[in-house]
Symmetry: C2
Subunit: 199 residues, 2 copies
């Protein structure tokens, strides 16, 4: 998505060899118009999939997910994070390991909000190692819901996230921006023709 | 806002004497169309205030805030919660005590995202005791920004939140639904004519 790539080039900050900060428009300060444009792009990409529900995780997934939900006219469920592993019969749960923070969070979704008839679109802000996406997949599977695919805002394609989720059987992954590398503090995107190979 | 009141009547669940669960459309599962309608209502209420930025707090404030930001064409900043009190020169911080959870969280906003020229609209999902709103006010004040008022989705008017924030000097508080009481598990709203008395 060219608008997003331009925004990353203009306002993203590359830190170290593998960190991209986009807190000026995506995950701390938010540009609502960009979110709406991304939501409409997700809706276009998954228009034929019969999506009945969007599943994301708090907090940074909420804005793009809600805009996609608006465009697809379906409810959005955001999984809640908890540092403690709470056992309950009322919720689907999964663990998410964060390589950045080296911590494990449990994420949870109330069982009332995912059912076996749902066709779920997973949405998240980043795909790096794939841990959050795998946890969302686990939760949808606990509900016996169908998963139509995953919509990602920014994919760091030099990290193993896409391969990890493909290996776990998740297909139809669309990322609005795919980063091939950081070079001298600049963001290098994958070529357009590389973008849809496994979708 | 009649649409919101009807939704609360239909899908809200009253638990005990003072808890209203709205997790089926606001703070766990989200109805994107309702969020957009609320965002447009916030935009109408604060249209003349010269808002330059919306400030909310993760996670439940994000959806209504982003929709208000879209309607007002301004950026949204969500304060991040942290259980640990991190000292830093880079962020404005304030403490929020939760009466429900009996815990104190620090909320923080990167100093790059609030400036003295900003005219800030505070948005949050609930006004009960006013602690979150007071913390957002503190953060805007640390930036020397102007505060144009506060937009609340659901106010529990039988709790002291509104008086607490008025006592602290925050004015122009608009709540889309004001709950007078819970009676026999039913939600009683304040009369329309009561709604704008101190705005």
């Amino acid at each position: 998505m060219k608008e997003l790539e331009k925004r990353i080039q203009a306002d993203g900050r590359v830190l170290g060899k593998d960190i991209l900060k986009v807190d000026s428009f995506l995950n701390h300060q938010i540009d609502p118009q960009l979110m709406q444009d991304m939501g409409m792009e997700f809706a276009r990409l998954f228009a034929s999939q019969g999506v009945t529900k969007i599943l994301t995780v708090e907090a940074s997934g909420i804005a793009p997910a809600v805009m996609a939900g608006l465009a697809l006219d379906v409810p959005v469920v955001f999984a809640r994070k908890s540092k403690s592993r709470i056992l309950t019969d009322d919720a689907f749960t999964a663990d998410v390991y964060s390589y950045t923070k080296q911590t494990t969070n449990q994420i949870r979704v109330d069982k009332r909000f995912l059912i076996g008839d749902d066709r779920v679109l997973l949405i998240d802000d980043f795909l790096a190692n794939g841990q959050a996406l795998l946890a969302l997949k686990t939760i949808a599977e606990q509900a016996n819901a169908g998963i139509v695919g995953a919509g990602i805002v920014i994919e760091k394609s030099f990290q193993p996230g896409r391969q990890n989720v493909l290996d776990a059987g998740l297909t139809n992954i669309h990322s609005l921006a795919r980063i091939a590398a950081f070079e001298d503090g600049q963001v290098i995107f994958m070529n357009e023709e590389d973008e849809e190979v496994d979708c």
